[in-house]
Symmetry: C2
Subunit: 330 residues, 2 copies
């Protein structure tokens, strides 16, 4: 079962020689950005060819939202009006946000649950940057960050989880309370303060200080494995308790997705979540080749949908195009 | 557009020599029933071969409900515990209920809007019965009936109408008030005191005294034609006002009907009503051969469904079998 959708590692880093981003002048910000670009693009490594720099000041809101929906940049970076940019690896597995809350936010993202691999590739970029940049680092406190919640390792390790059974039975709320004491939290689809849609949640460490990077990741893994097991168990129990009702819900969702002429983003996410479970439990079978439901979830987000259609769409037009897109792909 | 589903004519008649049914002893009821049977089955006409007698005392509740759902007998007749029977024409176009509220209720029913034809075939049976039965008849008041609301012609002429647009826009209620003064009323699917499902309504005359049979029928026709025109107009307006929303509703209903694993009778009727409109307006197109939606509505009523499956079903089982039946036929 595809309960763990993706693995993410994010490192917060700052230049020693510059004030934090919220106190950085535009002039110095541009210099800092240039130095960051050079650290990758002028490096004597293969990375120099694999990355491109995107000047976010030159990008439309739509383009920035497309990147946000793909989790390549944060909602905060979309909103910023100061000089910002992103160094993006061609395969979109690494993005380095520049001048977000911290000077650098190095993010590695991979589909699936192999967070060790994600950590490795992110860590390698961190090392490369450190060859030319002197980070703000304190012997006792570790990496210094704009917000004290990131102090120490500057690491946020997270998984995107698809947990509809835990959500609908209300058990996710109980889990949320229980995992707090392990320094782990669960948030919405795009992180802090964002809503969960399609039963997608981010689980991540809250504590960055007093634990090593390996401890943080192992701790997250332990808790996540338990949650994944619980999600599987509850799915099984729901299915056994009333198989027909379970099947009915999944098939209705499939029937609506393949026939509706208007679908809001929220409804589409919820219906796609249902059929994702249906495919995973072998309830839903279609003649067509299997589709990646998570990909459809991303593609039908407002900005990505408009990007594909190639023009700005009103909310009503989006609902129509979303329904049309999903009919074609299911 | 198939707004007029069927045409019905019902004549209330009583033997002169017997008290009305509610005061008729069992012995006399059996004699009255035998005389009614003989009037048809022993007549020197082709009718003798075309009718069969069904002793309702010998029939299970399920069998009686099956006939009721097909409008061959009334809900009142199903409930009666005194001796009752029905003379049924093989093609089910004529049924003569015996010992209902009146001794005889002669009913002709035809798909479509040709009420004159329905009147002709019903009237011919009335004439045949009168050859051997002396009806209770008063020179001034006409045919005498158990309830004074049927006095005079003893005629109820009615159409079954499918008017979803009038119902959803609330205009049916206004029409109901307006037509009262013409002696016309609109009631639920199985007549007085029954609920409307799938936007199916019966329109019929309330007045039986002081108008000739032809006047009653012409009056009903005039009002019905206006209602049909209004239904067409509102459908057109709803479609023009928001085509996409209209199409969305119809396609969602079709998607649910072809995918759900559990469907209540009420939900099935409502969804079938939607797709009936969809087919009629040319919105809904499928590769399969056209289906008679009204037939599906009758077949998926609780008793008819159990009859087809061949055994009594719990409500949950019915919902499952109904969904299965509709998936097969759509």
């Amino acid at each position: 079962m595809d309960i763990v959708i993706s693995s993410r590692v994010r490192l917060a880093r700052n230049f020693k020689k510059y004030p934090f981003s919220n106190r950085l002048s535009s002039e110095k910000a541009y210099t800092m950005i240039q130095e960051s670009r050079d650290a990758i693009l002028e490096s004597p490594t293969i990375m120099a060819q694999e990355f491109e720099y995107i000047d976010l000041e030159q990008k439309s809101s739509l383009d920035k939202l497309v990147m946000m929906e793909k989790h390549l940049i944060s909602p905060e970076l979309v909103k910023k009006t100061t000089p910002t940019g992103v160094l993006l690896k061609q395969d979109e597995s690494i993005s380095i946000m520049i001048n977000e809350e911290d000077h650098l936010r190095i993010q590695g993202i991979q589909l699936g649950s192999d967070i060790h691999k994600t950590w490795d590739i992110t860590s390698r970029i961190d090392d490369l940057l450190e060859e030319s940049i002197e980070y703000a680092f304190h012997d006792k406190y570790g990496y210094l960050t704009a917000c004290p919640t990131n102090l120490g390792t500057g690491l946020r390790a997270s998984y995107m989880l698809h947990v509809p059974a835990l959500e609908t039975t209300g058990q996710l709320k109980m889990i949320l309370q229980a995992i707090g004491k392990f320094g782990i939290t669960i948030r919405g689809m795009y992180g802090e303060g964002t809503e969960a849609q399609g039963s997608l949640f981010q689980i991540s460490n809250q504590i960055t200080l007093g634990q090593s990077e390996q401890e943080i990741i192992e701790n997250l893994n332990t808790v996540t494995n338990q949650i994944v097991e619980q999600e599987k168990n509850i799915r099984e129990k729901l299915l056994q308790a009333n198989k027909l009702k379970f099947e009915d819900r999944i098939y209705r969702s499939y029937g609506i997705l393949t026939h509706a002429r208007q679908l809001s983003s929220k409804e589409a996410m919820s219906l796609l979540s249902d059929i994702k479970v249906g495919f995973e439990l072998g309830i839903l079978k279609t003649d067509k080749k299997p589709v990646n439901i998570y990909e459809l979830m991303v593609c039908t987000q407002p900005a990505n949908l408009q990007k594909q259609i190639g023009r700005a769409l009103s909310p009503d037009e989006r609902d129509e195009e979303r329904a049309s897109f999903l009919r074609q792909h299911l």
